[in-house]
């Protein structure tokens, strides 16, 4: 408790210094908007459950967030607060701490929405401000911006920098605790100091408008920070408020930048995007799309994917089509141009639901449809072993991380429920249980012994 007090006071003095330096040359920043923004920024303490090493474990982390509405919606990063969170505490500008619940998350854009505990707010008569979005599309490289957040637990830290780049493409298939991110948006790059703990805090202009949500930086680099643009965040916030999740469409087409291949494919400059890969078994594959095709238009709307920066918007165009809709793709193959009809599917993460069977010392993750495609499995049967606890039955049997359990007894593992049922039977009456698992395409049998 004492150390916490020390921490707070020291962070306050840093805050004060930053304000002095920042404000001396730029008087516009003392606007009412900016001070209101400061009152809307919060610290977020999250305790979450993980299913690693064969058991349920809890871990704690600190992030930042910004209050968006008078009824207490808080925007932060998906890597700060995910559905794994079991306890979320928010420190308001008044330094009062209040509980919050997850409204929804979207790892693709690294955003999560929380709601402050309204009963508690009312009961304790807590006050807070809320901030507004600015227009991130109007930002220019060199424009002054401020990052506000909780770097290394230093509550309410303001740092100042400029927009270094307005549209940095950055896709990471494992970026959010193994979940995919960055396929559908570009990022704002800034040199405002962003450190661990800044995650989820706002990047704002001098008038206190949110233009981005700070998300990540290059470790070890000097001030290469990245934020999700407000233009990406606003529709995601609306979707999360409405449904608790964002539904996107998937067709299984992996685009590639044409760069200087335009002449090779005999397409005009700044027209078309290369089909770099087609997921096996995906709607695009079923429709007959092939690698090396050039996609010219989607539903008649021309696409231009000459440079990597242009690919996320094209991916987003596909993703924002309704699920189950027929897309008309205009494809150039050799000298021929044809339209293909592709039926969209619902986009799913590669990461399936996770669980731990503690008496077996076994933690697993359901094989998802896209995981099955990636691993070239015939279907979605099976659960992936994500951890075993040394000395427990799963470890003694010889199971290890990355094995895929296909059968338990003679029962194919079609869902987590199958294995949960077997575990319940084991808990009731411990008896040896036969498992079949795949390891790099090789089938082995294992016995879980009490």
């Amino acid at each position: 408790m004492k150390s916490a007090t020390v921490k707070l006071s020291s962070s306050r003095s840093i805050f004060a210094l930053a304000l002095v330096c920042a404000l001396a040359p730029a008087h516009a920043a003392v606007s009412r908007g900016f001070s209101q923004l400061l009152d809307a920024v919060v610290r977020i303490d999250v305790r979450e459950v993980t299913f690693e090493e064969g058991g349920k474990h809890f871990s704690a982390g600190i992030g930042s967030g910004v209050i968006l509405t008078a009824d207490g919606l808080v925007l932060t990063n998906a890597h700060v607060a995910s559905p794994r969170a079991v306890e979320i505490n928010i420190t308001l500008a008044s330094l009062e701490v209040v509980g919050a619940k997850l409204v929804g998350w979207d790892h693709w854009t690294d955003l999560a929405l929380l709601r402050l505990d309204r009963d508690e707010i009312r009961r304790r008569g807590l006050k807070f401000a809320h901030a507004e979005f600015g227009n991130s599309d109007k930002l220019f490289a060199g424009e002054t911006v401020y990052a506000v957040g909780t770097p290394y637990g230093l509550t309410r830290t303001v740092t100042r920098g400029i927009i270094s780049n307005t549209s940095r493409p950055f896709e990471d298939p494992h970026g959010i605790d193994g979940y995919e991110t960055g396929s559908f948006n570009t990022w704002l790059q800034t040199d405002a100091a962003i450190n661990p703990g800044n995650s989820g805090g706002p990047l704002v202009t001098e008038d206190g408008k949110i233009v981005g949500i700070n998300s990540r930086g290059y470790a070890g680099a000097d001030n290469l920070g990245f934020a999700i643009p407000a233009s990406t965040a606003q529709p995601v916030v609306a979707g999360l408020v409405h449904d608790g999740s964002i539904t996107r469409s998937y067709i299984g087409l992996v685009p590639g930048a044409l760069r200087d291949l335009s002449s090779f494919y005999s397409v005009a400059l700044n027209v078309g995007v290369l089909v770099n890969s087609v997921d096996p078994g995906s709607p695009a594959a079923k429709a007959g799309l092939r690698v090396g095709d050039v996609l010219l238009a989607i539903n008649g709307q021309k696409v231009d994917g000459r440079f990597p920066e242009q690919l996320p918007p094209i991916q987003n165009l596909i993703a924002s089509q309704p699920v189950g809709a027929a897309l008309r793709l205009t494809i150039k193959r050799g000298n021929d141009t044809h339209d293909y009809s592709v039926m969209t599917e619902k986009l799913e993460s590669r990461i399936g639901e996770e669980w731990a069977f503690e008496k077996w010392g076994l933690s697993v993750r359901k094989i998802s449809r896209s995981d099955a495609r990636e691993r070239q499995l015939p279907d979605e049967t099976g659960v992936l072993v994500i951890g075993v606890q040394p000395g427990f039955p799963a470890d003694v049997a010889g199971l290890s991380r990355d094995d895929i359990i296909m059968k338990i007894g003679q029962q194919p593992v079609n869902s987590l429920e199958t294995i949960k049922a077997a575990y319940a039977a084991y808990e009731a009456k411990p008896e040896p249980m036969l498992l079949e698992a795949l390891r790099f395409r090789r089938v082995s049998l294992y016995i879980l012994k009490p």
Partner: protein, 467 residues
């Protein structure tokens, strides 16, 4: 020093050791005539790498056997050049010819003109006499063998000596000595000078350690590549000395088509009441294979071959080698009885008519394009299996070698990439690919060309710039 040690042990272990010890130098001088050092080159696109192995004379017709590890299995026979055979202790050499690898023993066979080998003695001369069974050394029995120094010392022979620590089926009956007893590929003898085995590659001495499933916890060990402490017994050597490959590729090779044989863990075997024998799971039955035609299925558990139950071997992973060896004894067209368990209770006796092993990577045609910096080879059945594509249509070629910093390498091509299209046109056969690449290479005005390649489950379009 050595005699001191013998003296010390003599009263305890070996009565009469003193008498016999005096004979060993004479026995050794005679048996050194059965061994040679074999030099050769492994030639690739960018280099010519010298290799050295040790060999044992198998007969009086000039046949020499080298251990399995003498040649990297990925190397094609036509890359092996300039075999030179040295007698122990002699700088001069005579030329040799590579005959191929025997699938069952793994030995590589080399031939030399027997006239030029005069004075050398085949190893059979030191086998048990008059049809007597080969002696099996007892636990703690003293055995000795021959090592050869390096080229700078004219491959001078020296003696190695140790005691038997363990005799184990791996799956060949093999002795593991306490220390190194011979150079890999060279014979081991008992105190009477009778052949008791042929040292295997020095990797064998760490076999048990490396076979452990939890290798991660094992300490890193240094492997002595010049000397070995493991040797299959003479009974596993003498009957096979005549298995000279009929072709340099080792063909004919029998093919079953059961992929990913995995041993049954002892606990699982006990659970399935198979603890008195061995068993292996077939992970996948390959498309179009003899196993598939005979009705075998993925996940069948092999429990017997030709009616004989699989033996219970330790560790259980050794049984996979046993199955491979039983198959290697057969020829294409032979009947192979494979008894499997399926599901919880079904027992099926399948009669497989073995096929001809599909073309192996080491047998593929290859072509190097120096200006492009790339060797392509045929796409074969094994590639299709590895990539999980239909094995019926083998199209495209494989980048077998990509020269560092060449145009192909700069474009991002990797070795083992599957080249599906060249300049937007599908590659159906190896000849097509070679024709197109040759035309590109010959065209000095060409500024670039485009490859469509597959890598794992992914594909990429690569532009190779030539100017």
């Amino acid at each position: 020093m050595k005699s001191c040690r013998l003296l010390l042990f003599a009263p305890v272990l070996l009565s009469g050791a003193l008498v016999r010890a005096a004979e060993i130098p004479a026995l050794w001088a005679e048996r050194v005539k059965a061994v040679v050092a074999v030099e050769f080159y492994v030639e690739s696109e960018s280099e010519r790498r010298p290799a050295l192995s040790y060999g044992t004379l198998a007969d009086d017709k000039g046949t020499i056997i080298l251990p399995a590890a003498a040649v990297d299995p990925r190397v094609a026979p036509d890359q092996l050049k300039d075999f030179k055979i040295h007698r122990a202790g002699e700088a001069a050499s005579i030329p040799g010819t590579y005959l191929g690898e025997d699938n069952l023993t793994g030995w590589h066979f080399v031939h030399a003109d027997p006239k030029l080998l005069s004075g050398l003695v085949p190893i059979t001369a030191f086998a048990a006499k008059d049809g007597a069974p080969s002696p099996v050394p007892a636990l703690a029995e003293e055995v000795w063998g021959i090592g050869l120094r390096n080229k700078d010392e004219d491959f001078m022979p020296y003696i190695l000596m140790s005691r038997i620590g363990l005799i184990q089926s791996l799956p060949q009956r093999s002795a593991i000595a306490l220390h190194e007893v011979a150079a890999p590929g060279l014979p081991v003898f008992n105190r009477d000078g009778v052949l008791v085995g042929l040292a295997t590659s020095s990797f064998g001495q760490s076999y048990l350690q490396f076979s452990r499933p939890d290798r991660g916890a094992s300490p890193v060990i240094l492997v002595n590549v010049e000397e070995s402490s493991v040797f299959p017994l003479a009974e596993e050597v003498l009957p096979y000395l005549g298995r000279i490959p009929k072709s340099v590729t080792g063909r004919p090779l029998a093919w079953l088509g059961a992929y990913g044989l995995e041993p049954l863990d002892p606990d699982v075997a006990q659970f399935m009441k198979l603890d008195s024998q061995g068993a292996v799971v077939i992970s996948e039955v390959l498309e179009g294979s003899p196993a598939e035609k005979a009705g075998l299925k993925d996940r069948d558990i092999i429990v017997a071959l030709d009616g004989r139950p699989l033996p219970r071997l330790k560790p259980s992973s050794v049984v996979v080698g046993y199955v491979d060896r039983e198959l290697a004894r057969k020829l294409p067209g032979d009947q192979f009885g494979v008894t499997v368990l399926r599901g919880s209770s079904e027992r099926i006796d399948a009669k497989v008519t073995l096929g001809d092993e599909p073309k192996l990577i080491r047998e593929t045609s290859r072509k190097y394009f120096d200006r492009l910096g790339l060797t392509v080879r045929e796409f074969v059945y094994g590639d299709a299996v590895a990539l999980r594509v239909k094995t019926g249509e083998l199209t495209g070629v494989v980048a077998h070698f990509v020269k560092p910093n060449s145009p192909a390498a700069v474009a991002g091509l990797h070795a083992d990439d599957w080249i599906r299209e060249i300049d937007g046109v599908e590659v159906k056969t190896f000849d097509q690919a070679v024709g197109r690449l040759a035309a590109i290479e010959a065209d000095r005005d060409r500024t670039d060309f485009v490859l469509l390649v597959g890598r794992g489950g992914e594909t990429a379009v690569l532009r190779v710039k030539l100017k």
